[in-house]
């Protein structure tokens, strides 16, 4: 009745083989995609490429400086808003886990994490673009900030929850006021975890295109005005990749390479932070 042990062992080995095959085969498409982007993009990148605006069709050269500046400015503005707000909400959630407000705002973080980025784009369009009457960099930043919030909040909350209560109690027993306990003791102790959440959230939004389609829109010229449309790396890739011109495709490959490098570096920084301070995310 019972199957022979030899047969059962063979079955086990075959199963392991299948698992290993399926687990590692995924690395192949990843490598193909990364190597292709690097191959197509790396030769586009030079000083001229990084310091010039895109050339019109038919003209050689041209660069992506408008998108670099735009992405930098918009992500910076988004971070300036999202990091303090996200940290404050994260501190509240970890300090008061049982209140009604914590339940509802925790629920909202979960919801926000699942909202498709295109929906964020639509909503910010009605919040900012329509009242102002024009696409603007500031509306793009708001959309990106909303996308950043859940990651910052969750990483702050998770890190602070892991800290022992005795830390806080020791500080409070010395008569240190509550806000100083949080800002000078608790937050510095969980700094690495919070920081890795921040770098992760930046890596996440720097490649977001969908929320910018109806907000920052895009701009073929260099612009630093936050009330005017502004180009961004992912949006530039989208526009030029779907155009019919080879020159523009090359521009988009170069931009993809740069974007990919940004994302890779930010992810490595996150990795280094988490490894150095042994944070668990």
């Amino acid at each position: 009745m019972e199957a022979k042990i030899g047969f059962r062992n063979t079955k086990s080995v075959i199963f392991k083989g299948i698992i290993v095959f399926f687990a590692f085969i995924m690395v192949v498409p990843l490598m193909i995609i990364l190597l292709y982007i690097i191959k197509q993009g790396i030769f586009q990148v030079n000083w001229h490429f990084l310091t010039n605006v895109p050339a019109p069709v038919g003209e050689p050269g041209g660069g992506i400086v408008n998108a670099l500046v735009g992405s930098f400015l918009m992500v910076l503005m988004a971070a300036v808003v999202a990091i303090p707000v996200g940290m404050a909400a994260g501190i509240y959630l970890s300090e008061n886990p049982r209140t009604k407000l914590a339940y509802y705002s925790g629920l909202c973080v979960d919801i926000l994490q699942g909202v498709p980025s295109i929906v964020v784009g639509i909503v910010v369009y009605f919040w900012i673009v329509k009242p102002l009457g024009t696409f603007s960099a500031i509306s793009g930043s708001v959309a990106l900030a909303i996308m950043m919030l859940p990651i910052v909040i969750r990483s702050t909350e998770q890190t602070l929850k892991l800290l022992p209560d005795s830390l806080k109690e020791a500080a409070l027993s010395l008569g240190v006021p509550y806000h100083r306990v949080i800002l000078k003791v608790i937050v510095p102790c969980g700094f690495a975890g919070i920081l890795s959440g921040i770098t992760l959230s930046i890596a996440r939004v720097i490649g977001e295109t969908a929320p910018l389609l109806f907000t920052a829109f895009g701009n073929p010229y260099l612009s630093t005005s936050i009330t005017k449309p502004m180009e961004s790396l992912p949006h530039l890739i989208f526009t030029y990749a779907t155009s019919p011109y080879d020159d523009w495709h090359n521009l988009a490959w170069g931009a993809s390479f740069i974007l990919l490098m940004f994302v890779l570096i930010l992810n490595i920084v996150t990795k280094v932070i988490t490894r150095k301070w042994k944070v668990q995310l």
């Binding site: 909202c108 973080v109 919040w127 295109t209 890739i237 993809s256």
Partner: protein, 304 residues
């Protein structure tokens, strides 16, 4: 001296209250953002909801020129791309979860694979779309010629393939954590009874983690439903309903997200815009519900 100290602690007390109020305000702000999103979507799509009613969902024709709006082509397109992607991705994400959770949880090889999985999640979707457009589309076109369907290249199937790669990390990384949480006495007991590794995985680990792995698949699905850029670039953007199953899978189509991305800035009258926003509202509800169910299952699982 006494007085000064008292003053100091008073001002500190004031700061303490302000600080606490700021924390509360920021948490309230979150709730307001979600309520605001919901209110905006409902308000802006209200004209369309009122005019078209629930029939909007199964109206088969989307023709902005003659002011006829039906969401059916996009619902079908969204479900089709997401489920094909899900079916393709499940074997891979389960294999990764089992391999990194059970066979090889530590060491350089598992670190390498784990980093690769995280990298798949980190690459922006626009890059997947761009690569797909220039590399995958020609390959699919040749493949379609071989199997004898119209060689569009772009279409539902192509989008699903890219989508499948993109959503693998979500189910996989959750699966790894959950499989590692299986108590070792359970596994050791099975080994002591003479079970092989395959039998332990089949009859101990899998039943124990089933609900959690399902939650991971739900999170992947939520991701796939809302994915915009890669799909927009690859799906071909046709709002017509395909005439046969073969054309529905291999031909061009449209998803809710892709039609919004393509037509939102072109919508030149308010009914058109309102119908597009209603699509966004539907998308919002579907992804939120799927995500919340997934999260609920995970919380239940990790608390037990």
């Amino acid at each position: 001296m006494e007085n000064k100290r008292l003053n100091l602690s008073n001002s500190q007390l004031k700061w303490e209250t302000i600080f606490k109020k700021i924390l509360i305000a920021m948490s309230v702000l979150l709730v307001l953002i979600i309520l605001g999103v919901l209110a905006t979507l409902i308000k802006e799509s209200w004209p369309s909801i009122k005019a078209l009613g629930i029939g909007f969902l199964w109206g088969k024709v989307w023709d902005p020129v003659s002011n006829v709006y039906g969401a059916y082509p996009f619902l079908v397109g969204t479900l089709l791309t997401s489920f094909i992607a899900l079916i393709i991705s499940i074997p891979f994400s389960y294999a990764i979860a089992i391999y990194l959770g059970e066979y090889n949880p530590k060491g350089w090889l598992s670190d390498l694979l784990k980093n690769a999985i995280e990298l798949i999640a980190a690459v922006p979707s626009i890059i997947y779309g761009f690569w797909g457009l220039f590399v995958l589309v020609p390959v699919i076109r040749t493949f379609e010629m071989k199997i004898g369907v119209a060689p569009y290249g772009i279409g539902v199937f192509t989008s699903s393939l890219i989508l499948a790669v993109m959503i693998i990390p979500y189910a996989a990384s959750l699966g790894i954590t959950l499989i590692r949480m299986v108590p070792s006495p359970l596994k050791e007991g099975a080994y002591a009874l003479g079970a092989t590794r395959f039998e332990v995985i089949k009859s101990v680990i899998m039943p124990y983690t089933r609900s959690g792995l399902f939650a991971g698949v739900l999170l992947s699905l939520g991701r796939a439903l809302g994915e915009t850029m890669a799909v927009t670039m690859l799906i071909g953007n046709t709002s017509a309903v395909a005439d046969s199953i073969k054309n529905a899978i291999f031909g061009p189509g449209n998803t809710m997200a892709s039609v919004i991305a393509n037509e939102f800035t072109e919508a030149d009258h308010s009914e058109y815009l309102s119908a597009l926003i209603e699509l966004g509202l539907v998308l919002f509800f579907v992804t939120v519900v799927i995500n919340l169910i997934g999260k609920r299952i995970i919380t239940k699982f990790t608390n037990n």
